[in-house]
Symmetry: C2
Subunit: 762 residues, 2 copies
Amino acid sequence: MRYLIFILWSSAAFAQQKPLDFVKPFIGTQDAGHTYPGATVPFGSIQLSPDTDTILFAVNGAYQPNVYRYCAGYQHADSTIVGFSHTHFSGTGHSDLGDVLLMPNRGSIQWNPGTAAAPEKGYRSVYHHDEVAQPGYYGVYLNEIGVKAELTATQRVGVHRYRFDDGAPGHFILDLTHGIYNYDGKNVWCFLRVENDTLLTGYKQTNGWGRTRTVYFAIATSVPLSAYQIKDFKPSMYKGFWRKFDTEHQFAEGAGEGLKAALFFGEAKEVEFRVALSGVSIEGALLNLQTEAPKSGFSAYYSAAQEQWNEAFSVVQDANFLHLDDQSNFYTAWYHSLLGSSIYMDVDGRYRGLDQRIHQADGFTNYTTFSLWDTYRAAHPFLNLFYPKQDADMIESMQQHYTQSVHHMLPIWSHYANENWCMIGYHAVSVMADAVVKENPYLKDPSRFLKAAHSTANQRFYEGLGAYIDLGFVPEDQSGSSVSKTLEYAYDDWCIAQLASKLKADSLARVYQSRAENYRNVFDLQTGFMRPRLTNGNFKTQFDPLSTHGQGFIEGNAWNYSFYVPQQPLSLIALMGGEQRFIAHLDSLFEMELPDAYFAQTEDIMREGIIGNYVHGNEPSHHIAYFYNFTAQPWKTQATTRMILAKQYSLKAAGMGGNDDCGQMSAWYLFTALGLYPFAPGSPDYQLTAPLVKDATLQLDNGQTLRIKTLHNSDKNVYIQKVSFNGQQLQKPVLSHQELLKGGELLFELGPKPAKKAFQKP
Amino acid sequence: MRYLIFILWSSAAFAQQKPLDFVKPFIGTQDAGHTYPGATVPFGSIQLSPDTDTILFAVNGAYQPNVYRYCAGYQHADSTIVGFSHTHFSGTGHSDLGDVLLMPNRGSIQWNPGTAAAPEKGYRSVYHHDEVAQPGYYGVYLNEIGVKAELTATQRVGVHRYRFDDGAPGHFILDLTHGIYNYDGKNVWCFLRVENDTLLTGYKQTNGWGRTRTVYFAIATSVPLSAYQIKDFKPSMYKGFWRKFDTEHQFAEGAGEGLKAALFFGEAKEVEFRVALSGVSIEGALLNLQTEAPKSGFSAYYSAAQEQWNEAFSVVQDANFLHLDDQSNFYTAWYHSLLGSSIYMDVDGRYRGLDQRIHQADGFTNYTTFSLWDTYRAAHPFLNLFYPKQDADMIESMQQHYTQSVHHMLPIWSHYANENWCMIGYHAVSVMADAVVKENPYLKDPSRFLKAAHSTANQRFYEGLGAYIDLGFVPEDQSGSSVSKTLEYAYDDWCIAQLASKLKADSLARVYQSRAENYRNVFDLQTGFMRPRLTNGNFKTQFDPLSTHGQGFIEGNAWNYSFYVPQQPLSLIALMGGEQRFIAHLDSLFEMELPDAYFAQTEDIMREGIIGNYVHGNEPSHHIAYFYNFTAQPWKTQATTRMILAKQYSLKAAGMGGNDDCGQMSAWYLFTALGLYPFAPGSPDYQLTAPLVKDATLQLDNGQTLRIKTLHNSDKNVYIQKVSFNGQQLQKPVLSHQELLKGGELLFELGPKPAKKAFQKP
């Protein structure tokens, strides 16, 4: 709807450049980005995408899961496609999902995927990168078997179209055992019924990152089945009385740990599948199917998916860049920022909760996949600014997770009715505080959030939290990564304090304001770094501030993590010896030349994800470039952020230096490209930098329009000379959320040299 | 309610002898009876009973399931009790269930049950048969640990009370991996949450006889947990991020294939558990708990359970026997006849269907456990006569099974939302026909039953049915047990014909009347036996009419099975050479002396289950003793049934010569003791014999009272001299259901010698 209005308003030239045309879903699909190229809608429950490997490969004769490389099931440089499965994380550093794989084939049935080295021995197919990926669409030609495969999706239904070239009749493998990170024993149980000749139902249940997870499905076909086989490749020791029947040919029900099916459609040259998923039940999957995709017709679903994307992109009424590449990076980052979390409920609002019970979403939309250690930083603030309804629904989903948590905790990493406990901190409180402080109008009864945050922050069993409460820091001898934990708990506690203050819960606010100071307890004046301490209070000896392993940190070293005091930047500057020493120290972070060996072991990023000793490919540093704004040299923020944008984001499949991490890397790009950054979520303020965007017109949810404009923007003119908001010159490189929401024009005058008087000293 | 009225009516002497006092639940618990002694209510969803072994034992170094011996989890001669679990079949010849085991212990935690030879090395306990079993109650003193354990139940909640003698503090093992027929891999998944210090929830999911089966539970404790441990003894290869925590001590959630828990209650000397089960969900289990057993109080639940039994037994207003033993046998058989099928739905009417979806029972009560090959013969006719509402609900459950069946079939052996395909035939049609022909007033829209029966009888994939339809018999070279199948299909087809006739579907009636003649196709005039044929039409050579193996029969030999034409007894008599030859042949069945070797391989019965060559311990012969009624010598029915009653039923734990088979053996006893037998269910007629009962007063559901009286009944006076119904002498040893329902007095005059003129010739 919004998009249609925008078309009328825009110039004829612009009208030819639809936002969707700039989106390149292949960005990040090679190496560490861990994005997927498949078809999905904004926050889609279905992420229907090709898997290019099945994650098990032989090491020393034993099969080992390649957890990392195939987090999204796809590596762009691979030469074979195993099949098309319906669920994928976007940009994670751990893997799961890949549910309900369909794959066309010809000739005799190949029951196993085979290997990339010998694809002809399995059901996988060679492809020659004759691929098209768009928001809501993926198409590929499978050379080995002569089949054009196309995918699109509704919110809860994956839609496939397969067109066979002339030749031997085709068939399909439905491999319920397929999955991403598919170690032996991951598949717990499968159930499959051929309800009639155009409808299959069932479920598959897995163990793994999501420990207790069941995906129910209903599969409708456009062509009646002419024959089918269901086969259990991990049969139980107990055969039961099914042994009396030929259960493998046209026997309409199967169950077991290793279930696969082969589906035949006579001589049909074109077959469509509509695959509805549900986390609730088979009934739920059928309801989703009947509601969202009651009949065949690939093209209509494709159009509808793209219309959903147009609607989502209508927030960006206009965005112009110096270079077309930047425009594509920007729109692709925007696209990726809407893939991090997924709607996780049936069309009737029923969903499976953390307690494994079925709940009714009462007045909200339930979401899953909260990679909060990543996304609290910029991804949620991005949604809070441009998609506040969705962010509020995600927060309500976190709140419901808390009510369902037997541990009385908000989510750490929420994952399809599971808590997978990945990473550290309790950053849901940051997302909540950020939305409450910024007065997100869609939140309901935030006092509940405070109660949940307070409960979460006092679970002594959790990751050194008992000791942190007692001692003011996590001792490394009690809980590893102790400095990262201490710093992040302190920041999170500050968030709870902000939440409490906003809600006038003053005594709680004081408690957490005090805990927010705990970063001081791990600062070592002697080395000038944050440094692990032991229960006895001593700093740990054998301390290497460059190493990322065994030093008290996670996904970062002491160099990077020592800047992790977003809640009290000026205090950190003082602690580090005052502004001059701080600036020099910060400069050196970006300028150090370090041997590769230091990074060989760094988790989750490519060598390209590092600039000097600054690690952009991991999240703990994402605020660091903005630290200059708190000194007398804010222009260094401007130059540094431009440099990072240029070095860390490109249009290549390997264009991301680290995991997109459910949109966090992309959200950093978007904020920075627009000249804003939420330095400390939970604060209403954005730090300003020189925008990459020449100009942008953004439709805010409250009906206001925000125009970000630059004057003299160029590759060399990266320094802010002056910023004004609605004609009023800003004295500091800061703008509050409440100001932004008024809409109007944020005008940056840029120039080739630092304008040292552009702002007052902080 | 009925019971209270009955007390007022009965004599003072009788009032001291409550029906419940005569019930001996230990009957059948030793050797082949396969009944359990535990606590349950009529048709109870909970069968809370001690398990004396866990069914795995070592054979040649490999553990093997002892499927048969521990079908009910209990053998009375055993000296140890493993624990108390909540679900048990009554009298089956195959095993499953045994869900959610609780067991008290003392001292250090024993996680495994251990062996009967070394019980001190496991959590099992020695007991010295200090046991009490009553309807709705089981109590035992566990000598090894000094604990009095008592069990009772509501419909959906098992209630436990444990009293510890002084000594070391006790604790409990909650073993979710325990099960009956517990082979490696049977446990698919378990989930357990400690919701708070008096409530645990979760589920366990099994494979096995019920291939895809999940039991959800909610466990409330009378004393708060002081500590607990949850441990997974079959941990997944993937450890996830739970490895960061001590998940074994006071970590409130566990999931895995091998989950057990240890529960501590400080120094508490008495602990009660209320364990609600559901086939639907954890929410369902909680609802069942809150509705049926919201608070502690063992005694109240015990009283309520016995009140339910009193209500069920109020049908028998009076029943007197020559011997007290007979009285106990009679009431125990009555008790067992109400344990065969179980209610399978939550208090709100929701249940899991065969399609694994959740359904709402609309206007009926859903049941599971239909061992139809056994129970169609007498167990269902018994319910149809005395508990027509329950029988109608069971029939509706079968009809719903059909609507949920992807195979479009009525149940063969329906089992907790599974079809286990055990045994042969499609005898649900018999149960339906019997109820329709007898005009059970609680049936709704019987035309649906005819449609379901017709569909079931035409599924060509099923057990030689395609060939049967084409050839008129099942060829042994296409499907084993071919004669048994042919004979039973023919009988079932006659049932469908009766159903169709009653519903005025004349053309269908003709089709099935014709199919009902198919028994003729396997009768071998040369040998005089039913005999397997091959596809080419030839009789199979190498035919041994005494053997039960590989001869075309199941649970019977040609001798016994050749009488299996209940639908056309006179035609069979003619086929066998006329009445004289038939009687001589039938006499010899009971009188043959056969070497033990013939029975060594006979399934499902003890040597004691056989009289001559007549096998009472298996079901195919159950009508045979009544065959004399169709000859000029009905007095042989009278003598033979008395003999069988005396030889096959006793008060010992080993008092049943074969499996009770969900009440079929008991129902045979009850009918025969009352002087009636449903020779061909689907016919409105009962065959009469000399009652064992001296007199009985039976409250019929329609408000009428039926009095069965005998004159001169004694151990020697077993021959009917005359029978009259409401003063009218009967000319044949037959009475129709419609006559019986009128109530009144059925008077048998008995004498020491056959009264050859008591009846007209048939």
